[in-house]
Assembly symmetry: C2
């Protein structure tokens, strides 16, 4: 047995080596093609500079649908189509936040209403600020203490995690729940310290939600240094805050996700690569998630350009409405179920266009292990981490159907400095970093297409 | 034998595991301290904004010497001293480059004289431009063809390498040799396409050198898009270039490297951590190499702050004159030899303040393997690459004396967009990325100090 095992391992080793060499040559071709001829960076310039931010329901979003349709055709998709999605429409409108010290005059603070928040209908709403720095401190407040007040949740983004997504996950509950928590104790509106890894005055928006049977009061975010200044002021005096805002939900609307594919030569089971086409209504949605869109299109273009004969259908999905509803992802999941389409694998890029470090794998252990066994092929490209287990937000419906799902893991250090802000612009994206992400996604899809 | 080996390995395994746990706790303490309380980012702001760029021989460099001395004291060094270094003095002065098409008027090009280059002594020097795109093309030119002409070396930085340092290494000979190559065939001056990974009009300076017995004619750099435009113009017409510059070497001067240390508790053998204090005379020398300086000071501060009892002397060296002479590094090597100081290990950070990915190890295989055996401790910090074999430029004299030398390897994607340019400013440095580099250096020095 021992002898036989030895021989088997040797043969296996040789086969793996032979395959591995062929694959490593293909990896190199993919890399050369994208680094030398990749169009993703210029396409991102078009998307961000010609269209700009593109919240679901906006005219800009509809422009981006047409743009993505054209880009997928240009990249060589043999089938391009729009998938109908009913999306929520949230509109910001004019907004302002002022504070006044005991003896002072009103001072304007840089702020953003949180996404999906109701506003004040253009009226001034004011009250005294009470600050809490944690959920514990919130829990200790009585309804009497909070009644008619403004609750300021000043929870600082934890710098101590190496992966900033952990800091984001840790602080996210303050954004999602601040309004309802404040309403439950009779407060007028909520202010949160932005979910930001930066020390600046830039406010970060992002989705919040209302608990059922709780009054829908406004929630707004302020930047880190503004929060620090407010905290300092509150040490020795009462501060009044005054909010005037017009934001709110304006029903639903028919919109679209954009889909383009190159049909499989062997069968029509599907491999999905995607990002989300919508963005928040500030900045340019460059890292979040213009990057994921142009990287996904680059994957398709690279397959065509290199003449790789894909066994299975490679499908780019530009999801609608990730930011404030995930309706595009949900609709796509429904479509797959209704049409009983076989899906082999789905990967999303929605963590910024930074240099890739790994691929998170959300699937059964056998498939995880198989992908992990390919990891040495990725190492020369700076991609080494295949240990994390999650996938892109838009892919959860697929994951719930048992489809192996994944997410590109770029370096996370800079993302939450600019995430959901006016600073998420094209200028913050580095061409090489962006393209390296597209290379990683093309390489993993090449491996899946060949081996599954 | 087999049984014994098994038992030995088991015991070894247990020991390693126990040590490993203690080390991983210490790694975590280092990381928490630096990410939460690190001063490197604010110190870099001081160095770049209050002092700015600081070429050897400039008043700004002398200011930075005083600044570094103070910062080392503040960080807790029990001994701070200046090491005398004779440095070359190169001065830029005013400079301009113009081109004229066959029928056109003069047009100014954005340019920088290369470091150490002689100028035109304030006089206009002009001639027809001849372009070559490679050394091969240069070699084919006759002296007759080049006589009294301007040679334009339009060799493009190769985008195809994953590590941009390879692209830099590949293109560097054009910068260092363009002037002498041009002079040898009777040309008047040389223009090079900048060693840049970016597609912009920003010129990159950097050191050039003259071959002996070759006339010292000027060499200047232009940005990538300027080079492309010039190439396009040259396709269908003759172009004249006119240079007027005042740069040149102005002899030597006494200056200093700055050194601070915490003396070893067990012995006084030395572990060096350093960067170079000088920079080119454009931008702010933020990534190159203010980052390495503040990271090195952060290492010392972190040892003191956490109360780690260092066995050996931990010495921060802020080297003088890396950019155009390496006189600080050479002088330090001499000092070590003359004083017969035992050095255990030396590491430099001089590849930008970006998120670390590895440590290059230039030492014998036994020591390399030992450090590589620690690699799992570094993995949670995104540091996985211990395979490269080189060390910091300032450390070559130590390496040549047989001292184990190393260099921090940050992500290289953005470095050559801004290297040696007006764009190398504080704003291009991310706080977390910078501090992660300091964490990696503190961690490796902790391991070396404990185990060697």
């Amino acid at each position: 047995m021992k002898k036989i095992l030895g021989t088997t391992l040797l043969l296996l080793g040789m086969t793996v080596f032979g395959q591995s060499k062929e694959d490593s040559i293909q990896f190199s071709k993919i890399s050369l093609e994208v680094l030398n001829n990749g169009k993703g960076y210029n396409e991102l310039r078009e998307l961000t500079k010609n269209i700009g931010h593109r919240l679901s329901g906006s005219e800009a979003y509809e422009k981006s649908v047409k743009w993505a349709e054209q880009k997928l055709r240009d990249a060589g998709a043999n089938k391009v189509w729009l998938q109908e999605v009913m999306i929520p429409v949230w509109v910001r409108g004019k907004e302002s936040l002022h504070i006044k010290t005991s003896n002072g005059s009103w001072k304007s603070l840089k702020m953003l209403s949180l996404g999906n928040s109701e506003g004040t209908n253009g009226k001034d709403v004011s009250g005294e600020i009470i600050m809490v720095k944690s959920m514990d401190e919130y829990n200790k407040l009585t309804a009497e203490q909070v009644k008619d007040k403004i609750l300021f949740f000043n929870y600082a983004f934890k710098q101590s995690f190496i992966e900033t997504f952990k800091g984001y996950g840790d602080a996210a509950k303050y954004r999602t729940t601040a309004a309802s928590l404040t309403a439950k104790k009779g407060g007028k509106f909520a202010i949160i310290r932005s979910l930001s890894s930066a020390f600046d005055d830039v406010p970060h928006t992002g989705a919040m939600r209302y608990e059922e049977n709780t009054s829908k009061i406004p929630a707004v975010a302020i930047g880190s240094t503004t929060a620090d200044e407010l905290e300092a002021l509150l040490k020795n005096q009462k501060i009044t805050a005054k909010l005037n805002s017009n934001c709110g939900m304006k029903g639903e609307k028919l919109s679209h996700s954009v889909i383009g594919e190159i049909t499989g030569k062997k069968d029509q089971s599907v491999i999905v690569v995607g990002g989300h086409l919508d963005s928040w209504d500030v900045g340019e949605g460059a890292h979040d998630d213009g990057a994921g869109i142009v990287q996904s299109i680059e994957v398709l273009r690279t397959f065509k350009k290199l003449g790789i004969q894909n066994n299975h259908t490679i499908r780019v999905v530009c999801f609608a409405n990730e930011e404030n509803g995930v309706k595009g992802g949900i609709q796509y999941g429904k479509f797959v179920k209704e049409n009983n389409e076989k899906h082999l694998f789905a990967i999303e890029s929605d963590a910024g266009g930074f240099a890739p470090r790994g691929i998170a794998l959300d699937m059964d252990q056998t498939k995880r292990k198989q992908i992990q066994s390919w990891s040495k092929l990725f190492l020369p490209y700076g991609v080494y981490n295949f240990e994390e287990q999650f996938s892109g937000t838009d892919l959860y419906p697929l994951h719930d159907m048992g489809i192996p799902a994944a997410e590109l893991m770029p370096d996370s250090q800079r993302y939450f400095d600019i995430h959901h802000t006016e600073e998420d612009t094209f200028e913050k994206v580095n061409r090489r970093e962006l393209l390296l992400g597209a290379i990683t996604m093309t390489q993993i899809i090449y491996m899946i297409d060949k081996n599954w």
